[in-house]
Symmetry: C2
Subunit: 333 residues, 2 copies
């Protein structure tokens, strides 16, 4: 019941060895005679000694902690990634410091700096946009940083993603093949490379392949919120769209519900296909067809990659693209 904290020195004294030896057995160093090891282990047990990770971090310059920057854990897309990250981190004996950035540029660099000051061994960044300033900060540190489910068009940091352009292209082709001439592209902010550069490119390519002219009016740039989706029906209808590709599941659910509530039947009169395959796709009615992304795996692979970087192990590919699929459910014909 005593609360005085027991240190390595106490163990050393009690076991009649030096701190160095205690340190060795705690760290599983092999250069210690079995008899001594046992003696030390017994004392550790008796005294209920628990190494102070902070002191250890100072001495060894390793904290076994990694920073994770995420726009919002409340978003299923990101929480799925985060879960994959934490599981692999745990597997490799790391803990994660999780911080929400709200995609706020300023908060992102500020949070990055506090993470660095806490001497994390590595960082996983998830975010919609990498500003110049952030990129500068990334460059300035030698702490490894990997991007998960997030693209930087300058491709400086290692990253784990799917091929967004190809995925959207396939979605759109799919829709066009079934006769949709006017497919809306409903996305988050176009200033985010993932939308404005990759996904939009896929959309345009599919149009081009089908010989359909690009129409600016079919691009709906939103904030990716469910609520926003619900309000889109009038605009979509008056633009003459007969189908929509959405870049976010909540947004897609909003669109679908907005349509349905306005009496437009999905998928009969309007098809919807979404992009993240979170479990929400199964919960709404009709169930939403979606690009399938291995969300958990994106996080997991990113963390695994980071462990290699932190150990200076060789890494064969710095830009991992995981496979995606297309899952037909009930929101498409």
């Amino acid at each position: 019941m005593d609360k005085q904290t027991v240190t390595i020195y106490d163990v050393a004294r009690e076991a009649e060895v030096s701190m160095a030896t205690v340190s060795r057995v705690v760290n599983g160093n092999t250069n210690v005679k079995p008899a001594t090891r046992k003696k030390v282990l017994d004392v550790i047990d008796k005294l209920d000694y628990r190494p102070n990770a902070v002191a250890r971090g100072l001495a060894s310059k390793k904290t076994t902690t990694v920073g994770v920057i995420v726009p919002d854990v409340t978003n299923m897309y990101f929480s799925s990634l985060a879960r994959g990250i934490d599981d692999i981190a745990a597997m490799y004996k790391y803990n994660i410091i999780l911080t929400n950035s709200d995609s706020d540029d300023e908060k992102e660099v500020q949070v990055l700096n506090t993470l660095l000051s806490k001497q994390v061994d590595g960082i996983i960044f998830m975010g919609n946009e990498i500003t110049d300033q952030l990129r500068e900060e990334f460059k300035r540190t030698k702490t490894p940083i990997v991007l998960a489910g997030s693209v930087d068009d300058q491709n400086i940091n290692p990253s784990v993603n799917i091929n967004y352009a190809a995925a959207v292209q396939e979605e759109v082709k799919n829709l066009i093949d079934r006769g949709n001439k006017r497919v809306a592209f409903v996305c988050g902010p176009l200033k985010y490379a993932i939308n404005g550069k990759y996904r939009l490119k896929g959309y345009k390519q599919a149009l081009k392949d089908a010989g359909i002219p690009f129409d600016e009016k079919l691009i709906f740039e939103t904030d990716s919120k469910y609520k926003t989706g619900t309000l889109l029906q009038p605009a979509l209808s008056s633009a003459g769209a007969t189908a929509a590709v959405a870049t976010d599941d909540e947004l897609a659910a909003g669109i679908m519900n907005g349509m349905t509530d306005a009496g437009v039947l999905v998928p009969k009169n309007f098809e919807v296909i979404t992009s993240n395959d979170t479990k929400l796709t199964e919960m709404v009615r009709p169930k939403m067809s979606s690009i399938t992304q291995p969300l958990y795996d994106i996080g997991a692979v990113a963390m695994r990659l980071l462990t290699k970087l932190m150990n200076d192990e060789p890494v064969n590919e710095k830009e991992v693209l995981l496979p995606y699929g297309l899952m037909k459910r009930e929101s498409t014909k």
Copy 2:
């Protein structure tokens, strides 16, 4: 571009003062002449000095980091709490180490111990059950621990919750008042005090108040999964239930969809009411009526409470009960 890390000592030398003085200005200590302060600040800026939080933690015995144990961030109930926690933590300059426990007893105590070894200043625990062993560990440390959205029937640790019994009682009364004689109680494991002790109590009380005898057959103990909910229709129908109270939103969505898919109209032929008011309630059709819980606030208040505990500030109430409400949507008449 140089990567050698600059220490407080470098700043001291460059500014021609002692480390103590640099430390003072970094920590905003007032006992330093404005002129010296400026000189030091300039050097800090010039050298781009960033204090090492690990060394600081060792010297000051404060890490400005708190541990957060959660069953699964992927669950919206918990991610909402986590978000509230992180926001308030950030406000008070703390970071959170987030760990998923999967409600695994063993993992919970193990994770608690690594958190303590990392010298977190406090811990917020979310979990379904506090085993005896865990309670022992809680007692053994003097690091403050608060429970968020989680109940321990022995009420040893400070906690933030709503009155689950009263809320369920109100839900059930509501259903009974509209003529439902057979209301099913679909819950997570009854061994969890929140279900078996509190919510069930509220359910029974409502029955008692209405003079309806308790029927074991109307209690459906599940794993709280969406999928499980979808499979419940046959059992619910054959038990003669005309309404269900569910303790989890995903579970409730499953029940509702299962009913609907089987041709049972909600709410006309079967009413459903749920308990967590996550945004899922608005996304499914019909929208689900629910107890409203201030999820974000539960996390936020828990974190605020923890800051007080960490600063040895007086705390007036150790068991906070936040207000709940009842939100009628479309899954009830």
